[in-house]
């Protein structure tokens, strides 16, 4: 059967069409141009006209270039030899290492049967109090970091990767700046974590469409390792670039846009990836942390909006800190009862007081009179921001809880805090009591 064609009918955006038969939906093809070879994927078949999205982009493709159908959908290698290796957006080595051709597995496999899922109950400690104390991360959670460019979201990702107690890290870069890529590489190397990491890197200078496969490649490999018993942490940065690539293809294919130019299936596309997060009973797990930069710092923009509807909470990274408001770990209640008896009380109590501080701060800014209570709140708010919220704080959960009590005791009388009496008896620091 003929698998090679030399007549390209149309080139629009990054989509080409050829006249071909016996082609399977989502099959891969290889296009040979004067620039080299590129992979392409079948995205529509209409009779004997086949439309393909070209991962390397359509620049320089000529109508007589060769299109060779490969007879299989997107595959990725899977083996322990991948550890420490760096691949590109088509799954080819990006480092100097050898091609890996062992055990090829399909990407974007079937969803997990909900009946086989279990309620996740294992906490991932990060030593970042704003996470561990206030919005605990849980094994198998899918959580985006909502941020804007300029914020240290990649630093945060790298730090979580280094400190989280997981077996493996898979980093997916989509439109990643080259120096950020180098930053990840160096940081994980220095932290001694490179040998338990796998990178799939698509950089900002690579063709946009090539970034589309990165989440699928990462998650297919992660899923396989998880089935073999590994707890895998998948880091994706930046999913906004992924969504923008989807938008570009949709516009090229003249799909009717639903909201600000984004395709109507954006929700389903994102969900298909994020829902790969799972805790397999009797095996390992996949946890997903994904940077989502918000265009225009607008959380109602279709990308963060659809993401928020899919993920199990979100971390807002703003002014270099994880915001306590808006940030949410929907799974925290599964784990924070079993840590220490004062965990939930400190979590709720400190946030409520911080909310009151913000109100007072607003009143102060408007020139209203400050009461004694207001002054206590102002002191508290400042301490909370510098000692708890700052990303530089790096302490285990228990120490963070102790610190919480210390801050409270330095600012308030026990009865001001609204905390339960038994807890105050047990945890209120003596020093604070003396100071009164």
């Amino acid at each position: 059967m003929k698998r090679v064609y030399n007549k390209i009918l149309s080139i629009t955006g990054n989509v080409i069409s050829v006249k071909a038969t016996d082609v399977a939906y989502e099959e891969l093809a290889e296009i040979t141009t004067q620039r080299g070879k590129s992979l392409a994927q079948v995205i529509k078949i209409d009779g004997d006209i086949v439309y393909l999205q070209v991962f390397a982009g359509s620049q320089g493709i000529s109508t007589s270039d060769e299109v060779r159908f490969l007879g299989h959908p997107m595959l990725v290698t899977f083996s322990d030899n991948m550890l420490g290796r760096i691949f590109d957006g088509s799954g080819m080595p990006r480092d100097k290492g050898p091609m890996l051709t062992e055990l090829l597995i399909p990407v974007a496999g079937p969803p997990v049967n909900p009946a086989k899922r279990i309620i996740p109950r294992r906490m991932i400690r990060t030593n970042i109090p704003m996470i561990d104390v206030f919005n605990s991360l849980v094994v198998s959670q899918k959580l985006p970091i909502f941020s804007v460019s300029g914020e240290p979201y990649n630093q945060l990702l790298a730090r979580i990767a280094l400190q989280a107690e997981v077996d493996m890290i898979i980093l997916g870069g989509i439109g990643l700046k080259y120096d950020e890529y180098m930053y990840f590489k160096n940081t994980l190397e220095e932290g001694g974590a490179l040998s338990r990491s796998i990178f799939f890197i698509h950089t900002a200078s690579d063709p946009i469409v090539e970034g589309l496969m990165v989440p699928d490649l990462c998650l297919a490999v992660a899923e396989k390792f998880a089935l073999k018993g590994k707890d895998v942490l998948v880091l994706l940065t930046d999913m906004t670039n992924f969504a923008d690539a989807l938008k570009e293809i949709a516009i090229t294919m003249e799909h009717v846009p639903s909201n600000r130019g984004y395709p109507g299936d954006l929700y389903s596309q994102l969900a298909a990836r994020y829902e790969k997060a799972v805790d397999f009973e009797g095996a390992g797990s996949v946890t997903i942390l994904a940077v989502t930069t918000m265009p225009g710092d607008d959380v109602t923009h279709p990308i963060p909006d659809n993401t928020g509807y899919i993920t199990e909470g979100q971390f807002y990274l703003r002014n270099g800190r994880i915001e306590p408001f808006g940030s949410l770990s929907r799974l925290k209640q599964n784990v924070n009862a079993a840590t220490r008896e004062d965990h939930r009380a400190i979590m709720d109590g400190m946030i409520q007081l911080y909310a009151q501080y913000l109100e007072t701060e607003e009143k102060r800014a408007m020139g209203f009179r400050m009461t004694d209570w207001d002054r206590k709140l102002l002191k508290y708010g400042k301490m909370f921001e510098s000692k708890m919220m700052a990303l530089s704080v790096n302490i285990p959960l228990e120490e963070a809880l102790d610190l919480g009590w210390k801050i409270l005791a330095e600012c308030f009388r026990p009865e001001d805090t609204g905390l339960r009496t038994e807890l105050i008896k047990k945890f209120w620091p003596d020093k604070g009591a003396e100071q009164r």
């Binding site: 529509k44 078949i45 959908p73 969803p111 049967n113 909201n259 790969k276």
Partner: protein, 582 residues
């Protein structure tokens, strides 16, 4: 045997295939696209053009080719109705997920199907008709016990003529596929009746005498709903809200505590993890009304966000059809769909692939009428035996950007009887359930007198006005009287509108308790007080709030409940203004 009608695939985009067919094609007909590996991918005709059928495929279309065979079934997309659906977890096409898990492990492998009913287990059938009786579709010929219910075995609803019972089996154990009766139409044609039959999901079941106007409240035990924005047995309501506002938690609470006989949970296009909580926890929880496991009154239709989109579209119909079927038993059924927006988006995705002319935000022109038709399937009905049955439908809406002006919210608001709008601000302030007390509404009647409710709502409105003013002029610029109104509204909010879903007692408030407690709240709101200054007023209301919240956590009918009530009343009395002075 007539031959299987077949067609050939002519085009593929996403989950849509164009199929060239020889012979007749029926709208909504089910067919199977056969892959090279002989997987059978269930599909549904959703548009016909000449000899071309456009079909949505309920599975991934990866690997399909032009020229691949499609086999048609001659039947519309249907579910099987019979005993044994309670406690089960189905996907959007009524495949039992547990059975699939047992056979196929962790993943939902493509093309896999399992029997929706258990054909092997035996049910104790008791006949209700005898030879010679006249029957028609919707008349019960007998019943079997299913959990705590009498599950009636009906003459299938599509048999609309009059039939004579030719034979019926004796009381005894039978399987669902056994013939339990034979009926005969006027021309002497015989029809075998089994304990189950198929029904096309997109066609409403109307085998009842009449549809009535809903009037009785459906108690949810959520105070702000039952007292202020009630729902009715056979009524409809919607819960729109931005992500994280508490839609899913509110539906879960309702599914646990609502005074319905049967609860159908349609997890439509949202997180799989949320269904898992129900799957794993409900079997362990007991239904306070029956003492049995909550699962025994529950059916879960689970087509979560990474499961095929076309099946998501079908899942809402599957859930509704099963709900209508249990209504035929004279039961009060509650269908909770989370989220109807995902269902509407599934329609949008499919319509986009058909290149139909889109309406607002690319939703298809027909989506508004689809939403209306969906909620129309709710209702209170008088059955042929004179008994009442009801299907109540509550759907969450996930508006893009949290903006209620978008098409799905607006289309829904036009047709439902109650609107529980969740607010981002209330959720951020952890005021749960975050139903907005000023914007929400209900057309149904509460079990608490309207005058008292109006008075309380008035306090909320005025309190909000004072609050808005205070943001500008500060506390010092506000009069003591206005400040007290504000404190009263905050008090009402804190002790009555808010409810702790995670406290065993507070989570569910019975109508008796609501009536009792609301009277106390009403009395407190009505009174005039004497305060030296704002600080004293604040201290009083904060203290009162604390005692009241403690009261909410105490079981009714206990001594502690009485004691706490006394101490609240004493505190109130202390500051009450008395005409004759002290």
């Amino acid at each position: 045997m007539n031959e299987v009608k077949t067609g050939k695939i002519a085009g593929i985009t996403g989950n849509m295939i164009a199929v060239e067919v020889d012979g007749e094609i029926m709208q909504n007909e089910v067919g199977y696209a056969i892959t090279a590996d002989n997987e059978r991918l269930k599909s549904e005709v959703i548009r016909v053009q000449g000899d071309r059928a456009f079909m949505q495929v309920f599975e991934s279309t990866k690997g399909l080719k032009v020229g691949d065979r499609v086999e048609f079934t001659g039947e519309m997309l249907s579910v099987q109705l019979g005993p044994g659906m309670l406690t089960r977890v189905y996907d959007g096409l009524q495949n039992p997920l547990n059975a699939i898990a047992e056979k196929h492990g962790f993943f939902l492998v493509r093309g896999v199907m399992e029997d929706p009913l258990d054909y092997e287990s035996e049910w104790e059938f008791t006949p209700l008709v005898k030879k010679g009786d006249k029957v028609t579709g919707g008349i019960a010929v007998g019943w079997v016990p299913e959990g705590i219910f009498e599950h009636f075995i009906f003459v299938p609803f599509h048999l609309r003529k009059e039939y004579t019972v030719k034979s019926i089996v004796d009381k005894g154990l039978y399987k669902v596929k056994d013939v339990i009766a034979v009926i005969e139409d006027e021309r002497g044609r015989e029809i075998d009746l089994k304990m189950y039959f198929s029904w096309p999901v997109k066609i409403p079941i109307t085998a009842y005498r009449e549809k009535l106007v809903p009037s009785d409240p459906l108690v949810t035990k959520v105070r702000i709903i039952d007292t202020f924005f009630p729902i009715a047995k056979g009524g409809t309501y919607c819960i729109p809200g931005p992500f994280g506002a508490g839609k899913t938690v509110l539906q879960h609470i309702t599914s646990r505590h609502a005074e319905a006989d049967v609860v159908i949970i349609a997890a439509c296009g949202e997180r799989a993890g949320e269904v898992v909580e129900i799957l794993r926890e409900y079997p362990e929880l007991s239904d306070p009304r029956t003492g049995r496991s909550l699962m025994e009154r529950t059916v879960i239709i689970c087509n979560t966000s990474s499961m095929p989109v076309a099946a998501r579209e079908a899942s809402v119909y599957t859930a509704t059809t099963i709900g209508e079927y249990y209504r035929q038993m004279g039961l009060n059924v509650l269908l909770l769909a989370d989220s109807t927006s995902r269902w509407a988006q599934a329609m949008r995705e499919v319509s986009g692939r058909l290149e139909e002319i889109p309406g607002e935000e690319a939703y298809p022109a027909f989506f508004e009428s689809r939403i209306a038709q969906f909620y129309e399937r709710a209702g209170l009905v008088r059955l042929y035996n004179g008994k009442l049955g009801s299907l109540t439908i509550g759907g969450t809406v996930s508006p893009a950007g949290g903006n209620f002006e978008e098409p799905v919210t607006q289309a829904t608001l036009k047709v439902v009887g109650a609107f529980h709008g969740l607010s981002r601000e209330r959720a951020n302030a952890r005021r749960f359930p975050s139903i907005h007390p000023l914007e929400s509404w209900s057309k149904y009647k509460s079990f608490i007198g309207q005058k008292k409710i109006d008075y309380a709502r008035d306090i909320l409105f005025k309190g909000n006005e004072v609050h808005q003013m205070m943001l500008v002029v500060g506390e010092e610029g506000t009069s003591l009287d206005d400040f007290v109104i504000y404190l009263k509204s905050e008090f009402l909010d804190a002790v009555y509108l808010q409810q702790n879903a995670f406290d065993e007692v507070d989570a569910a408030s019975s109508p008796e308790r609501q009536k009792y407690v609301f009277d106390v709240v009403y009395d407190i709101l009505k009174r005039e007080y004497v305060f030296k200054d704002k600080n004293e007023a604040r201290d009083f209301f904060y203290k009162l709030r604390q005692s009241f919240i403690d009261w909410n956590y105490i079981k009714m009918d206990t001594d502690r409940f009485k004691q706490q009530e006394e101490s609240i009343k004493k505190l109130v009395e202390e500051y009450t203004k008395h005409e004759k002075g002290i």
